[in-house]
Subunit: 329 residues, 2 copies
């Protein structure tokens, strides 16, 4: 079996373990009016990337995948909690190719279902933390705090006229990277890793998280709609301050700059203008810069894994990082 | 100093400790767009009843108030998280005599501020649980799960035509009583109480919680609006299945029953009909029955405190229970 086939098989097998716990945590649970909407988002799929980071980190730190199954489920529940609430705040209508929770039900149901996803996340977190409960709860809660702060900055930046690349990076570190950092750190602690291993894996999570978010910004404009599961150009329509927009505002001159400023001033553009801005990004070389940025943070993430003893552990993280980058094709 | 003056002084002093931690947890914290709305609800006051239950339970179980200060702040933050999200779902416009958070800001801000209140609650919870972290986190998370389930049932019951008193009690046990039970249980564990003490204090919390909710239902109809801080008759306007309505539906006959069923069918009444229903409740003897129910659960709560060694601990709980009941005047 080639490495890639082996890694794929590990991913698929472990995904099933996570899905089993997620199903057990939510499906057929009462009251149905609460848990059935909560399960709607969970069963809509997703890559279970965050749980995989937890499991792979546990293994890389010297433990077993099964040391961290419930924690894997917990981070996926936490992630879906943020998706449900963010989708309300972002007025998003599609997620993973399906209606968002607040469109399928209503926003009140979605608020409460989101809350209960978080509650059930903590419930699961309790189940693995053999002797490490304080560290585990602290790391998870830090992740929760940061993701709320990141979302707040994201919303704030939508209406702010001037934004530097540093502001943008600070925001995505909290909104996206902190959570992937948390996943790797939780896994490393549960696998009884040394302080160096915990630090190295956390650094991998943080840097791959930044790469992942820039990639997500890029996908909004260059992805295939069916595959992406979201409406293309949604960030432009919403006026979101993505890597692309912040970078374009920095580089553009003359009429291009005026067009971009107009987008900011009007807090987004009409859907029929998405193509125009896509062409502008291409003309300014922004697509290429985003790709370089993704590469930079991915390399940084992979370099931090040098301390791992087992080369196969490094290889599977490398494979995972490549999958993330390949999402754009 | 009489006992009552002494108790009042303890309450006021300890309230200040809790307020200090709450202020430290939220005020001047960045991003301001997140924590300033979160602090808005916290600084709007409230009785800090739940933190007091934590502190008094810690003391009654053999510990000190200061063993549980951060946990006291945590339960108040958790409570306010539920208020912020529930107020959105209930379309409530007033809270503690001020605009609700989603009216003062907007519902998207309120969703996220609510989330961060919960995040900061867990942050505080981490700070007291010296060696007991798993029990503390489990009890707190159970409280969170139940309060979400209780709110879901509450919303579901609004549109359900037939509801028994048992359904109602099951709902308020989760929505209100579970949280007061949790407060007493957290405090008792932090005070290093014996299993009997933890059980007795938890039972106090649960039963006083039921009394408290029936009282809250009653206040909606008989309270003074300025003092209550909410619009009188709001539950009737919202069509909420309160103790009063469920009991009235059980007892009423003929035209009275038809009127009550109409209220249920139309999912609430117009504000100018509140007085009519108040008179109907009086005529059916529902106000009196509610008062008896409050007394029943209060007595049950106080009886469970018999196991406490120190009579002053029992007395201060009794005094607190009386304050709760006196709210109606």
């Amino acid at each position: 079996m080639t490495d890639i086939r082996k890694f794929k098989s590990i991913y698929e097998n472990e995904q099933k373990q996570i899905d089993r716990i997620l199903r057990k945590s939510l499906s057929k649970r009462k009251p149905e009016n609460l848990y059935s909407p909560a399960y709607y988002i969970i069963e809509s799929g997703g890559k279970r990337l965050r749980p995989m980071l937890v499991l792979l980190s546990a293994k890389a730190a010297g433990g077993k995948y099964s040391d961290a199954y419930h924690t894997g489920a917990a981070v996926e529940l936490l992630h879906n909690f943020t998706l449900v609430h963010d989708d309300i705040m972002d007025n998003a209508d599609k997620r993973r190719g399906r209606m968002t929770l607040h469109v399928k039900y209503d926003s009140h149901t979605a608020i409460l279902a989101g809350d209960s996803l978080l509650a059930v996340a903590y419930e699961n977190l309790l189940k693995d933390c053999n002797g490490n409960s304080e560290i585990i709860f602290a790391a998870f809660t830090k992740g929760l705090v940061e993701v709320c702060e990141g979302q707040s900055l994201d919303k704030e930046y939508e209406t702010r006229e001037v934004l530097t690349l540093n502001d943008y990076l600070g925001m995505i570190k909290k909104k996206t990277a902190a959570m992937l950092e948390m996943c790797c750190s939780l896994g490393a602690v549960l696998g009884n890793g040394s302080p160096e291993e915990v630090k190295a894996l956390s650094s991998f999570g943080k840097n791959i998280g930044i790469a992942f978010q820039v990639q997500d910004d890029l996908l909004d404009i260059i992805a295939d709609e069916t595959e992406f599961g979201k409406t293309i150009g949604g960030d432009l329509v919403e006026g979101k301050k993505t890597f692309l927009l912040v970078k374009a505002l920095e580089k553009a001159k003359g009429q291009d700059k005026a067009d971009l400023k107009a987008l900011v001033r009007t807090k987004g553009v009409k859907p029929n203008q998405v193509q125009k801005y896509k062409k502008l990004y291409e003309k300014l070389g922004i697509i290429k810069e985003a790709q370089q940025e993704i590469k930079k943070y991915t390399s940084r993430a992979l370099r931090s894994l040098k301390v791992l003893k087992n080369s196969e552990d490094r290889e599977i993280f490398k494979w995972l990082a490549e999958i993330l980058i390949k999402r754009m094709k």
